[in-house]
Amino acid sequence: MPIRFFHLPLIVCLLSLILLAPGSDAQIEEEDLASATPTVRADDDALGIADLTQRLDDLEAALRTGMARGEALLALDELVAALDARSIDPALPLEARALLADVLARRAVIYDEIGDSAGADLDLVRLIETSPNLDLATLAPSASLYERFTALRRTRVGTLDVTRIEPLDMEIVVDGWPMEGDTITVTAGTVRLEARRPGYAELSEDIEVRAARSTARDLELVRDAPVLRLATRPNNAAVYVDGALVGSTEGTAAPADLPAGATARFGADGFSSQLVIDDIALGVHQLEIRRDGFRPYRTQLFIEDLLDYELPPVVLQPEQGTIVLLDLPANARVRLNGELIEIERSGTRGRIEVDPGSHSIDVRAGATKMWGTRLDVADRQTVELRVEPRLALVLLGVFGGDANAADRLADDLTGAVRATDRWTLIDRRPEAISLLDDAGIDVATMRADSPQVDWTALQRRVDDELPGFVYLIALFGDDVLARDGELVMWTTAPGPALPDRVPIALDSDPRAAVTALLDRTPELFRPWSGVLPIDSDAVAHPVIGAITPGGPGEAAGLVAGDLIVAVDGASLDRAATMLEKLTTAQSDETVTLIIRTPDGTAKEVDLRLGRGPSALDPTAQPRSLAWAALATIEERRAAPEWLIDFNRAVLLLDARDPIGAVRLLREIEAAERSHGFGQAAVYYTLGRALEAVGLEYRSAAADAYRRAAGIAGARFGHHDGPFVAPRARARLHALGESTP
């Protein structure tokens, strides 16, 4: 099948094409048709033309710098010898013939310069026969040489004039030389005139041209076939007509060769050169264009006349499915198959175009929450997924002798996570194998009392490669049927890389145990009574040991020494019961106390509890879960920033990261409460953290303690908590500093 590239203006044929393929952009419009640039390709390397051309250029340069003529002639002889046999063959590429002409011209000039007129004349003759159009003047020949050249030309060349050219964009070749314009100079004698154009019957005939004369010839080709032209983006697409391969789109089109309308619509980049199909029969045909990874382009062609048909550039659509993420948080970062991607968003909807196949999607919302799934997407399939970010619990590994226990644990974790509705479990066991190997984590190291593991480095790696919020490694006993084990848990940075080891019994109800573990929801606020009940065996009921000035107890009229006989109708005999009641009450709840005053009077008092901030007890729960709780509280904005940061600092300090704690504490500005939990606790904790950093910070620690000690009545942990000032004074004394 002939496939050619046109270099003449195309005849525009506007015929209707019924486009059947859905989504097809193929329409034929006048402005889409454009001219093409002629291109002649030659296998330069095979002929050595490029090398020979370079040698001639080098020779020209050497001549300009004084190369000896004799030496130049030898070089030119070699070039002529290389080209000689081929130069007379009209089928040879034009470059070879043009180069031979150039070589002969230069050699003729040199012969003339050294006085070898005969040699010069011989080369002039051959030169004219090889390239009748060449003009020797560009080589600055001597006047006599040029005169001889002109004379020789007069006797050896004529011109061929072509008239009535139809169609205008046909390709005309005379003795192998392309004809540009309607006149060409040729060697006198019989010349071969060829004319061709897709869709037309090719013409070839010999014409006699006489020297110094002009010969005229009409050229009118006969239309014998329709022509279809098309280009694709990307190239290398296979083109089928009625199921038969008719070619493939090659090369790259210059922007100018593309229809202006198409480039405006699709851009000019990436289109192939035009593929010309000229042996298509009249009638209705099925056109299909295929390329791997792209959806096939199909359309129906109605070829009704012997005309040129051109499809607008065909933009092949890649095969893809669509994942639509619903309820996507504003701060979500989405990873597709592990790679962070920019996502096309519209409100809370996110859209991802993906290749058909299996994909993993991870969504990270803020610093703490994740959501992830794995799914298969087919071409043109749209899958909607509702994003429900939860705290991510990433299971990295399970060690132990009981293989079944590993699966059961995974099930239990999944069930527990589902029950809490606060977590999402991401099972990364396969991906974590090499990572844990690198960290030196195996059964033996994990069973050691103090595993020699660089947890900080491990945390850094998992944060980077398998991100989550809490990382989990399960460790079972040696037994084939494990009965108990441990969950080793730690949190993502900037949390402490110091794992908690939580024992877990497998022979009772591990799912319930894990659920209870994960479902803890500590609050950062608690009721505040301003009452310190104490036990005394001098009386049958708890006695008020102290009242916080300005607190709810004082507001209710309670005083130290009052006996608390009953709370909400329940008799009291222990302060612990009273404190438990106060701790579990709702903030702002009113509890009714029966009081007996020191003078023996009994009375009923309504104690309206206040509400105050509180600190987590880092020893009461795995640190990682405390971090998770803080993250949840922060997300819900259920506590002021200072309180969350304070708790984080306490956790860091507990996890032996005093520098991290200092960083946080330095920034905290809490209420400067004289009675209750506030800035004094921050100062005090800062002092402890600074001391833990090193001896060089003793002075700074003392300064912090001094500030804490200066806030009389301030509490630690919560408004009813331990007093700060006595501790701060003790710390100052321990540092050898004077106390305020």
Partner: protein, 495 residues
Amino acid sequence: MIRVAVVVCLATVLSFPARGSEAERLFAEATRLDNASDLAAALDAYRLLIDRFAATPEAAEALARSAELQWARDDSSAAERLIETLRSRHPTSAATARGELLAGTMAMDRAGSLADLAAARTILLRVPLGWDRGAFPDLQARARARVAAAQIAFLLGDLDTAIAEALLVAEDEPRGDYSAEAELLWARASLAANAELAPILEVLQRNVIENEGEAIGREAKAWLSLLHRRRIGPSVGRPWIDSARPFAATTMRLEEATGVAADGDSIVVTDGSLPLIAILGTDESVRVRTAITTPRRPWWDVDRNAAAVGDDVLVRPFGGRRIGLTSPRGRDDALSDIEAATDDLFGGWWAIARRYDDVLLRYNTVTQPPREVRLQDTRDLQDVARDDRGRLYALDRDSQSVHRLDADGRGDEIVARGDWKRAAALAIDRLGYLWVLDSGTRRVEMWDASGRLLMRLGPNLPGGIELRDPVDIAVDGAGRVYLADEDLTHLVVLD
């Protein structure tokens, strides 16, 4: 002998993983023998390990454990040699910290003076100085050494230091059984330093809850009760003594009570007619009783054993030995007519005898003649008592004064001067209040530590009890006051 609560891991069940090396296997075997209480065999195994694998961590552990065992066998010389070996071979091992703790504990045990205690404290402080939290975050020996050092500071009267060190243990060390002990010490020292009450109450009450059912929890509750009785109640108008009632009237009928003493939650009473000595609970139950010859005043010694004075002996009737005291004249002259006695912090005794009633007799050891400690203007000493910090209090009938000495028997100062007809007995409660029994007026008086009379009560007490011939007075840890009266068939408790 000081028996502050320094526990040296004797009961620790050691467990090391069997990791395969010969030293490890040997250590595992020694530990097994140790845990099985086959101490001689365990010591042999430890010694073999120390000799054959001297440079291993197991050898360091073996040295430390051997030293602890030797000390438990009262061979302190052997223990010291092992500790010295530890120091030289394993200067930075955690086991050596245990060795230093043991060295400090032994120094406390041997202390004969406050200066000796200060020296023991210096040894103990090597542990926190040499094994800091950064490198040894979970070192129990450091926490224990700090608690012991804080206790010594408390005894030395350096209250601020005691408070600071107790706090460091409570807050900085990993939680352990010493944590509550440290907090309690913090509270005691803070009270002694007259610190603000509310923070102390908070700490004590928290310990009551966190250690419910344990001795430390009961101790904390006793302190709260004491503070309620002495500070909180009176501050809002509650009388110092609200009631008086017979104590153990139905469980312990007395014929001729001669003395009473009280500890945190136990009362010991002596009866010269029955004759006997008995220990009662605060719930009035009789815990134990035994016959004793001519019993006089009892007391609780520093090891919390009940002790009593007989005519010429000191008796630890429940598991102790009878101690005959020599007179100042020499070994051949036994002391008779012992009126009152108490032990001191250093394993010695203080006694008052009828023949030498103008001086206090101090016995460093009971086999040597005592040192006579003469107080200013005392001619008829009647009673001697010791407070929590080891300070001695002596009641002189003639000068009608109470004298206080430091634990070394120095620094005589008069802390109360009364108008007593026949002062008979003295008691000190844990907050430092003085209780004086005047048998002449059959009254009880309460004085504060600065010599101010706060209360006088008797002979008719609230509740209709009349004192007839009161002979002794005691205060328990919770602040209840007990009176022994020769003419009453029961003790009287004032509350």
